[in-house]
Every structure is written in structure tokens, then in C-alpha cells.
């Protein structure tokens, strides 16, 4: 073994908590097959192959392994949506992690590629999938390199390919990387991109690619972190897995924190139990807001999530509580803004990203997103008017009809509007452009009011008088 022990992988902070997916992050050579095998690697696969596939599927279902990509749909249930007897069927690994603020999958791929590969193999075996595609975001060069190297090692060692470990089970894993479109993180757009088409979301229905996905075949699209959970689950069993976290959100989850905290980084927290306050102020996590400043706002689940204020700090990482509070856990990215933050400008930064990343397919997102960005730029530049602020809501209403979710605020005396929103768009990119604008305007209206140009209405006197 070449590497020694690191304190942690760059950007990763371990605490005194169970480690489901990050147990090898302490090693400098965590990405090698040698290290992986030395730390229980491919043991889960071996034990899985010794049992009937349906049993493994049941185990994953019973453990309620939630999807870690954003929607939080249980993986075991997702696998069960595939029609019986239709072949071939595919596993697509969504490694196109591009939600602003999210970088947990990147670490999982860079630091422990074999864990992901083993997860793919277990999923393929359990759900009866014949081919696996690993789709990695185009910008993640190191992740691509490490996964490619790991795939070669695993092929050479007989973990992938024909008759894996002497069993009847055969599966191939194909590595593919993206060309840099945010929307390809959306599963149907990812499938389109994988097929060689423009990365644009497919139309719903069908709502799930499980029935009709890649090349028109049944396809399971799983997030990197979801699959990385499987080796540990197989090694330690359902009981051990569900013992961590809560009944509805078992296990741990990776959270990437960025922004104005003393120690930004990726943490493996306990699902459903750790609160935002623990995360932002806990000594084992972010250790408080930088320079001792006050917390102004934070985004709980990636750039497209409605914002929270300190009022919501005591919410745990539990979808069933965060949703009614007006936001989502999404991809597990927390962005923190302290009291020095220029809120309109922060909203503009996020909105500009989503407007730029619109694929151009549907009108509300293509035209509305850009329009939001342009109005907001004007406001930020101090050239906006009262009417512009109303107009932001109006444009948002064309993207997401009806009440848009937001957090409650005691000071402003407003109650929460629960998640999710309704949308006129095909996918979530359009609403994502609106979410920061809406949250910022709803929770911090005074900062916008201070920016706009006041215009005096000149009274027009009727000529007839």
C-alpha cells in the first residue's frame, strides 16, 4: 500500500459519527483497488452474489435507501417500477452533479471509485440490469480519471464483465462524460445526452425512465451517493442501516456546505437527525459563521431550493419537515450567507446561472429565466423601479403558477408556503431560476426597496378643466 493515512480527504471533515460512504476517505490511496480490498472492498458484492437477486432487492427496499440526487425517491421502489420481462434494461449512474453548491458526488467518485462501482454491480444484480452506464460530469476531470482507472482495475480483477467472480452474473460498465450542461443532471436529459442527442429533458409522461428510458428500454437512473450506500448496506445489513437516522430517512447523507462559515466542506451527517444548527454551528461541522457574524440566510438544498433564514435553523435533515417549511433538501448542498451578504446580488448570481443553463426547449424557462435575470440585474445596478419588483413576481408566476413555496418568518409575520411548487415548464430549471428571486424578494424586500429608483408621479390635469 503506497499511501499513508490522511487526516481527511481535501474538503472532507469526519466527525464522531457513523461513516457509511466515507469510511475510506482517511486514506491517501483510497481510490486504489488495493486499498479498497484491504477495507472490506467487494465483500458486499460477494455476499450479494451468493444470494438470490430478489432477496437483495428486498433488502434495499426494506432499508429504505433514499435517492440522494434531489427527489429522495427510495431506490428499492424505483427498481420495482421496471416492467417484467423486457430486455435489455439499463442502469444509468447520474454523476452529472452540477447543482450550484453541490460537490459531494465528486468526492465520492474521486476518493472511492470502487465503492461506486461495487454499488453499481450490486444494483445491477439486484434489479436484473444488463448494462451500466456511468455518466460523469464533463468538468470533473479527476473523477473521470479515477473512475476510468478503477474500472480498468476492476475489469482486470474480474469484478466487472462476464461471469463476475465465477457466477452467472455478467454486466458491463461504460464510462461516459458530459459536455457541460447543467440540465443533464435531470435524468431524462441525461438519457438524451447519453444517446448522443442534445441534452434536453424528455417530455412527461412517461414520468419515469424505469418503463421507457435509454434507447426506449427500461432504465434505472440512480445518483452516485445512492449507489455508494449499497456496499455498506450489504456488509452490515438492513438493521444496522436503519439503526442510523430516522425511520423515514435512514442512514447518513453527504452534505456540502459552502459560503460564509468558518469551515466549509463536505460532511457525512445523520439523516433525519442532524439539524441545520448542528451543521452550521457544530464544532465537528462548520464551526459557526465566519468572523462571528450573524447568519442572514441559507439555502438548504442546492441553488434551486427556496431559502431559509435563522428561523428554520432547528429543522433536521428530514424531507417531511423541510418540505412543509417551504423548501427542499435537494442535492444536499447548503449555501450560507452572513449578515454582510448583498441579498439582491446573491439572488442574481443564482438566477443568472439557471437562466444561462436553460436548455431552450420550453418557453417559460427560456424566455422567463433570462427576463428575470435582466430585470434583476437592473435592480442590482440601482436602475430598477417599483414596477420592476412586481414584474419579477409576474414573470415568476408565468413560470410557476400559484403560490410559490417560501419559509415562514417571524419578524415579517409571514407563514410558510409548503414545497413543492406547480410549474408551467417541462423540468425544474425554470422554477430554479425563480426560486432565489422569490425567496430574496419575499424575505428581504427591504434590501430591494433600498436599491430601486423612486419615481415621482406627475399629476396630469385634464384639459377640460
Amino acid at each position: 500500500m503506497t499511501g499513508g493515512t490522511w487526516k481527511h480527504a481535501p474538503g472532507f471533515y469526519v466527525g464522531d459519527r457513523p461513516q457509511v460512504v466515507t469510511s475510506r476517505f482517511q486514506y491517501e490511496d483510497s481510490y486504489t483497488l488495493e486499498r479498497y480490498l484491504a477495507t472490506d472492498g467487494y465483500k458486499g458484492l460477494r455476499s450479494a452474489l451468493a444470494r438470490p437477486a430478489s432477496e437483495i432487492h428486498d433488502e434495499v427496499r426494506n432499508a429504505t435507501v433514499l435517492g440522494r440526487g434531489g427527489a429522495g425517491f427510495p431506490a428499492g421502489n424505483k427498481w420495482g417500477l421496471m416492467p417484467q420481462g423486457v430486455w435489455p434494461r439499463y442502469l444509468v449512474v447520474n454523476g452529472d452533479e452540477s447543482e450550484p453548491g453541490t460537490y459531494k458526488d465528486r468526492l465520492l467518485m474521486e476518493c472511492d471509485p470502487h465503492q461506486l462501482i461495487e454499488g453499481c454491480l450490486i444494483a445491477s444484480y439486484a434489479a436484473g440490469l444488463s448494462q451500466c452506464f456511468l455518466y460523469i460530469r464533463g468538468e470533473m476531470a479527476l473523477a473521470q480519471e479515477r473512475i476510468a482507472a478503477a474500472l480498468n482495475e476492476a475489469y482486470a480483477a474480474g469484478y466487472i464483465g462476464k461471469n463476475i467472480l465465477g457466477s452467472n452474473f455478467s454486466v458491463d460498465i461504460v464510462l461516459h462524460w458530459g459536455a457541460g450542461a447543467y440540465v443533464v443532471g435531470e435524468e431524462t436529459a441525461l438519457i438524451e445526452s447519453l444517446e448522443g442527442n442534445r441534452g434536453m429533458p424528455r417530455l412527461k409522461p412517461p414520468y419515469f425512465p424505469a418503463a421507457n428510458g435509454l434507447y426506449g428500454q427500461p432504465t434505472i437512473v440512480n445518483n452516485v451517493e445512492t449507489l455508494a450506500n449499497l456496499p455498506w448496506l450489504l456488509n452490515n445489513g438492513t438493521a444496522a442501516y436503519t439503526a442510523i437516522g430516522t425511520a423515514t430517512s435512514p442512514g447518513t447523507r453527504m452534505v456540502a456546505v459552502s459560503g460564509h462559515v468558518n469551515r466549509p466542506g463536505v460532511f457525512e451527517i445523520i439523516n433525519g437527525i442532524t439539524t441545520f444548527r448542528d451543521l452550521l454551528y457544530g464544532d465537528e461541522f462548520c464551526q459557526g459563521i465566519r468572523n462571528g457574524n450573524d447568519l442572514k440566510a441559507f439555502v438548504p438544498g442546492g441553488g434551486s431550493a427556496p431559502w431559509f433564514t435563522p428561523d428554520q435553523l432547528d429543522l433536521p435533515f428530514e424531507a417531511s419537515q423541510v418540505g412543509p417549511a417551504g423548501s427542499m433538501l435537494g442535492s444536499g448542498a447548503v449555501m450560507v450567507m452572513d449578515s454582510t451578504t448583498d441579498i439582491p446580488r446573491a439572488a442574481l448570481t443564482l438566477t443568472r446561472f439557471y437562466a444561462h443553463e436553460s436548455c431552450g426547449k420550453c418557453t417559460p424557462c427560456r424566455e422567463g429565466g433570462t427576463w428575470l435575470e435582466r430585470i434583476l440585474s437592473r435592480v442590482v445596478d440601482g436602475k430598477g423601479t417599483d414596477a420592476d419588483l412586481d414584474q419579477l413576481f409576474e414573470v415568476g408566476e408565468s413560470i410557476c403558477p400559484g403560490a410559490f413555496p417560501h419559509a415562514s418568518n417571524e419578524k415579517l409575520g409571514i407563514a410558510a408556503v409548503p414545497f413543492p411548487y406547480r410549474m408551467n415548464t417541462i423540468c425544474f430549471v425554470g422554477p430554479s431560476a425563480y426560486a432565489p428571486v422569490h425567496s430574496a424578494l419575499t424575505l428581504f424586500r427591504s434590501e430591494f426597496d433600498a436599491r430601486i429608483v423612486k419615481r415621482t408621479m406627475i399629476k396630469v390635469t385634464a384639459v377640460s378643466e
Partner: protein, 788 residues
Amino acid sequence: MTTIDTTDTNDMPPQDPNAVSITINGRTVSARKGDFIIAAADSIDEYIPRFCYHPRMSSVGMCRQCMVEVEGPRGPMMVVSCMTPVADGQIVRTDTPQVKRAQEGMIELLLANHPLDCPVCDKGGECPLQDQAFSHGAGESRFVEEKRHFEKPIPISDLVFLDRERCILCDRCTRFADEVAGDPLISFTQRGNNTQVMTFPDEPFASYFSGNTVQICPVGALTASPYRFKARPWDLEQRESTCTTCSVGCRTVVQSSRDELLRYQGVDSDPVNWGWLCDKGRFNFQSTNSDDRLSTPQIKSGDSFVASSWSDALDSVARVIRHSREGSVAILGGARGTNEDAFMWGALADAAGITMRDANLDDGLPASIFSYPQATIDSACAGGTVILLAPDIKEELPVLYLRLRDAVQKKRIRLIEISSHETGLTKYAWKSIRAESGTAAAAVPGLLAQADVSAQLASGPVVVVTGRPNLAESASHTMDALSGVLAVAPSASVLPVLRRGNVRGALSLGLAPLNGNDAATILEASAKGDVDCLILLGADPLSDVADVDLARRGIAGAKFIVAIDTFLTDSASHADVVLPAAAYGEKDGTTMNLEGRVTSVVQKITPHGTSRADWMIAVELLTLLGHESNFTTLSDIQRAMSAAVPGFGSTTTAVAIKRDGVVVSVTQRSPESAATSVAPPRNSYEFRLDLSRKLFDRAIGTITSPSLANLAAEANIFIHPLDLDRVGAAEGTNVRVSNSHSSIVLPVRGSFSIPRGTAWVPFNQIGADVRELVRRNESIIDVRIESM
């Protein structure tokens, strides 16, 4: 003669097991499972605004304009009605404040970057964006930012211009090109707010169907050069008609302003064209407006023509007919005219004892093709197997190609193709074999005996689409192959694909050859001096007969030639009397398409100069020849047609009001038994000549339409690339093409679409004329190709 049965294609459909019932704005609507809400709403005239939705293409839900509210388990849900299928008991509302808000919002967003240059936009006045901005928009825009800018307009093909600023990215044109036409030459590029429609680098949108994208564009982003800035929509008058450019019979509207034809638009006729047109049919209205049109009768004096009055010209024609020896008058042509034209000329021929007549120009199949059980386009596309013994359908009958391609793409039919070179349909064929000219009949039994093929034939109805695949090959080879197919599949029906506009009508209504005296026989007789008066009824044998030597001898041998035409064609210039004929759009009547479907054609503008409809000329001559004639109007003729041709009358009166027309099935009483042809032994040093048409050639209607005139290619001879070595010629160099009859020089091109040993020459292109090598008494033509 012929007997005619009438079949009404619009019988009541049987009770539908897929029927569902939904409620839209409180009204109950019956729909079919799989229908979308928007279509169900259309059926009861509840209009839902839309841009990207098109009933003939798959839904993409891109514009999001058609949002409606559907009652769901968790209260009303906003859905896109073009993507949401109907479900029994569904409750839809299109009129709630939420729907109105969403639709107004979408219009505002679409208009955000739209230039609003309506006053100078061709679409202004008939623009779905403009119309729906008024009907479903808020009335004003709050978009004060600078709009998106692009260079405008840019040509994306010879015919179509693209203005990306006006484009609302509805995906209609790109979807049409990909899904319907199979020419995915335009696509989206860039992303987000910079998304734009574009061609691929160095590849123009050279599709035969590009004009349809202009028609279905919901804004003025795509414009076609023949119509740009020619008129405002509110100045246009229109009448619904049928295109007679080829025999598919697409329904169109003919639009004019200031007594000038300005545009044709496709009309959605369910059994025929589904709203599509080919570019040739769409843009050849320019030909009618051409300055080169014949405007007065002309009488040959010495070497030149002298304009004359109609009475002088008709007098001289009548005199010649009267003084001709018995049985020495011949009529060639008639396929360009209406049914009424053909019927009147047939009546004139009967009265005057003219026995030599043929509406084909030795380039079709014997009229006995109509004696087989006949298929329709719909029946061919409905299911089962379609066997192609035909020319390249994409080149000759483009909209039939669209229908067949659609049926294959939707997996309704399987195509089996037997052809001498690859065609536009080859890549859609389930089986496609190359049989060199003269050998199709020999190849049929083996192909159809294959186990999977016979299983396929047994699995459903079989339709044989048959026409003349090679003009340098005798029609009897095709008829033999057809007999071979029918021997294996005796219950198969036949869809004859003769190309000329109303050739089926002309052949059915009195201009079919009598006693086997077809065009070739007539020209041969003429060459021998046996024709005293040759009447060219819109026929140009010098350009259209494959055996040009025969045509030349026939024209030279005729004692007196009368040409009735719209232009002074090659053949007409040899005439003694030229009578100007009214063109398409200048006369009313009916026409019959390749299925035998009778539909209306209409007059929209005044005939050019003093030109007259063909039937009027026949009526005049009938009177001048001393026969009693009660014909003064078109309805007189239609009444006579009803009386003379059983079953026809009820159709002609109904046709005027019926878009889809009526299929008239014609049965030949005694099918002629065509002599079978045997291809002579093959000299392996020679190439077998394959002479067939492309859509754009030097046809008079094409070269007199300025926008189409440049689309005809230079004449080339195409051989397999490996045969280039054998010939010792490089791509593009001139080779000598010769046989015992003549020798010409043509540039040679390699093409993998051509099998080895075959030489394909597109018919009637610019350059050396390969017809010099064709003799119709040889059933196939072999040529030598030598490098120079």
C-alpha cells in the same frame, strides 16, 4: 370502353372500443383513447391556443401555450393539453382565471424577444402569434429590455429564408424535417435564450418538402422566396383546389391577388396529402404567371408563326381534320387537363372518328393496369405489405413518399422493394433487392418464395405499388413482374403510380388508346406518313418520349400538327397551328388522382391572353366539324359525362363541395394481354441503362418557374464507384456513352446507390440527352461507357 363504380370512402366507422368520454368546460366530448385533450377540444370547437402542436406531428409540449386545468385527486392541475391524453371521466376547464393567466403569461414571454415587425412581415395578418396575442394575450408587453438580435434573414436553402429574430422555437419546422420529411437538415443549435434553428455547416436545407416548413411556421421566421413581399394576406383571395403537378392529387388552396397567382398552400385531406405539398407543386404557380406563356393562337407561315384570331386558327384546324384521310388524325396527350377536358376531347374524337389517341407518352403502363383490383393510398398505408415495382416515389410522387414513409415509421406496413437502383424509400424498406432492368420479373418468384417474405405476405393485405421504373426499359417487364407478384399474392390490390397529373382521368374518360394504338404506334404511323393531322393536347413528345428518335420521326412525318399548350414547347414549335391553352388555376373542373379519386380544380384567375380551356376548344371544333353540340358551360359537360360514363355523375356534382373527393373505380372490360418481354443476353462489358426522373428537371412547368428553374441538375451518368475503375474514368470527368444507335458525352459520377453494371441517367436534365441511345423496340438498352 370502361365501366365505373362509385365507392364512397366515408362510410360510418364501426363502434369504437377505445371510446372515452370527457368533459370540457361542462360539455361532454367523446374521444378516442390516446387522443390528446387539445384534439378533443378542437372536435367541439373549444379553441385552445397553441404554437408547437400540430395534429400531423408528434407532440413536444415546447411552447407551453396550451395549458389547461384538469381536475385531479389534489384539486385542479395545470397541464399542457397537447401532451395530456384523455381519460374517461376527465374534467377539463379552459376558461378559468388560472388558465387565462398562464396563457397570457406565455404569450407575453413569447413576445418578449419577438421583433414585432409585423408591418413588414409576410406573416402579418395570418400569423398565429399575432392572432393569438390578440385573442389570448394581455394586450401589452412589459418587456422593456433590448431584444435578441440575429442577422436576418439568412437563406437556408434555394427556396427558404430564416429570420431567427422572429422564431419562437416551436420545433415545428425541425420536427417536420426530421419526422415527416425524413430530411433532418435543420436543427436547434446553441442553448437557452440563444437557441436558434440552423442548418448544418455547408449543408443547405435541400429538402423536396422545405415549403411545408414555411406553411406551418407559426410566425414569420420562415419565408419562401417565391412569395416574399408579394402580397399581404388580407389582399389574397383563395379557393380550394387540387394540385395536378403529379398524380397524387394533393389538396391545395390557390391564392391570388390582383388577378395573379401568388401562393399555393397545402390543405389537410385525410386520405391524400395530410396538408403537405412538395416544393415543385407548391412553387410552380410561377409558371402560370410566366411572361413566356402563349397568349394568342398562331399559324405557321414559312418558318415563323403569325398571330391569328381564334376563328381563323380553329377554322384551319377543322378544315384539316375534315380533309384528312379516314383514320389519319391522332390525339396525343390530355393528361395535363381536367376530366372535362379529356371527356370533351374523347367525345370529339368519337364524333370525328379519330381512333388514334393516347394520354400516355410511351412513359407509363398500359391502361390495363386499371383492370386489377385497385388500392388507395390509405389502403396501402393501413397495414400489411407494400410491394414496390415502381420508380423512385420520392422523386416522382413526393407526397405519396411521405405517406408510405409515415406508414413504415409508424410500423403499420412493411415495404418490399424491387428496383434497379436505390430509391428514396430503400432505407425504409423491410426488404429491398436490386434487380437490373429487364430482370425484375425473374427476381420476383425467388424473393417472394423466401420463408419470411411469404409469411409476411400471408400476415395481412398486400398492395403492389407499380409504375414505370425505367424509361429505357419496356413497360412489359414491369407488367410481367406484376403478374409474377399477383401469382404469389392473388388477393393483392394494385396502386398504379403513373406520374402525370390527370393521366388516370384522361385514360378513363376517353383518351385511352383504342385497339392497342398507343403513343408509340401513333408516332410510328406518323413517321411513315400515315398521320395527316397530329393534335398535341398539352403533349411534348420531343421532350417526353424516351425514344427521341421515334418522337423526332413522328413529328417530322406528320402532315399537319396542331399544338394546344400553355407554352411554345419544343414540339409545339414544329406545329402548324398553336392554340394557347388555359393553365392550372385558370379553369374549373375536376381531376382524378392515381387512386381514381375525383376532386375539384378551380379557376382563380383570368386565363392568360386569349387562352382557353381545352374543353372549350373541343366544343368549338365539334361545332365546326358539323356535329350538333349542346355544350356551352362546364355543367353541360358534367351532365353529359354523368350520362355517358355510368356512376360518374353523382360524383362530379358532389365533388365541388367535398374536400376529400370521391374514389371512382374503373374496371377495364377486357384487359389486354400484354406481350411478355425477355431481356436479351447480357454483354458483361456493357452497362444497362436506367433512365428515370428526378423531381426537378427541365419540365416546362419547372423551367418557367424562376425559383425552381435552377434546381434541375446537370446531366450526369451515375455508376457504381467500383465501376469507375473499370471504365478508367475519374469522378466528374467526361465519358463517351454509346451503343449502336448513337453516342453522347456525359460527366460520370460514382454512387453507391447504383448497383454494379447499371448506369443511371436522370431523365431530362441540362446537358447531353441520353435518349439518343434509346429505341423503344428494344426492351432494354445496354450502353458502352468509355473514358475519353
